[in-house]
């Protein structure tokens, strides 16, 4: 089934370049998944294990967001929405940390 008009603003060469990037990101994600599992086998101390696991997950997440979700070429407004979201997200994750201080910050 062919569309009645050309659907894309992208040139064929541009799409080919996108596809090559997708495949590179796919291979990187697979490699990072294996690395995550292998590192967990070393039974590192919890703080180091958490840091390493979250670092690798952040790299993987960034690859997905930047290339699969096309965030790398997105408009400013999307970044503004995400910046606001990230700031609220950080506050949300920080709340349990504050409570660890035995109610010093939160009573």
């Amino acid at each position: 089934m062919q569309a009645t008009t050309t659907p894309s603003h992208h040139s064929a060469a541009e799409i080919d370049r996108h596809v090559r990037i997708y495949i590179t990101v796919f291979v990187s994600l697979m490699a990072l998944t294996i690395i995550t599992v292998v590192i967990s086998r070393f039974h590192l101390p919890v703080p180091i294990a958490v840091s390493v696991a979250l670092l690798v997950a952040t790299i993987k997440g960034s690859l997905v967001a930047c290339y699969f979700m096309h965030l790398i070429s997105e408009k400013k407004l999307i970044f503004a929405v995400l910046a606001l979201t990230v700031s609220f997200f950080v506050v949300l994750l920080a709340l349990p940390v504050l409570t660890v201080h035995d109610g010093f910050y939160i009573r």
């Binding site: 495949i23 796919f26 967990s40 979700m69 709340l95 349990p96």
Partner: protein, 196 residues
């Protein structure tokens, strides 16, 4: 009256309404999962002991599921790229593969859950299992939702391609954004629950 700015970008935002809409929705999803992650941190740091995930959960199955979801993300972007190349039959193939891979993920999760229940491990058993079932259960609901939308675009929704291909391509891009978000959440859930 037609829905405005489905294909043309709004002059003030520089985006189509659908694009800004899906990103705002994803922002709310970040807060939803963020609240549960914050609960996980609170419960874990407050517990005198906490089990390593791999002593209770099946890591090889979860690794397989991680590979399945990452692969489905690639098939999803390839589906979008196929439309950009004006190749509808290739789009169908990749979109079908994306839905199928989502199904594989759910089947594996079914076996994981059944095995836990057979061993008498329920959400009420302990805090670790409570947070495990809550986070993975919510994530599974998202996989089901994403599969339903993708299946619609693979099937009856694809009629739009004939009449308004650019709008259809935008719709596929937006459902893809949701699907990649589901993949992204799993990328963090996997090490957090299974490996630490």
């Amino acid at each position: 009256m037609d829905i405005p700015y489905t294909v043309d970008v709004r002059p003030d935002t520089g985006l189509t309404n659908g694009k800004i809409g899906i990103w705002l929705f994803l922002a709310s999803e970040v807060m939803l999962f963020g609240a549960l992650f914050a609960s996980y941190i609170l419960i874990r740091t407050g517990a005198p002991t906490w089990p390593r995930g791999d002593t209770i959960l099946n890591v090889p199955l979860a690794t397989f599921n991680t590979i399945v979801l990452i692969t489905s993300s690639v098939t999803m972007v390839m589906a979008w790229a196929s439309l950009a190349r004006n190749r509808f039959s290739t789009f169908r193939l990749y979109m079908g593969a994306t839905v199928l891979l989502g199904g594989v993920f759910l089947v594996v999760k079914y076996f994981e859950y059944s095995h836990k229940f057979e061993l008498g491990l329920f959400p009420s058993t302990n805090n670790f299992l409570a947070i495990y079932f809550t986070l993975t259960g919510l994530h599974m609901l998202h996989v089901i939702g994403g599969m339903a939308v993708n299946a619609y675009f693979w099937g009856p929704g694809a009629k739009l391609w004939k009449t308004n291909p650019e709008w259809f391509m935008n719709r596929v891009e937006h459902s893809g954004l949701f699907w990649h978000f589901v993949d992204l959440v799993w990328i963090f859930l996997f090490p957090t629950l299974y490996l630490l």
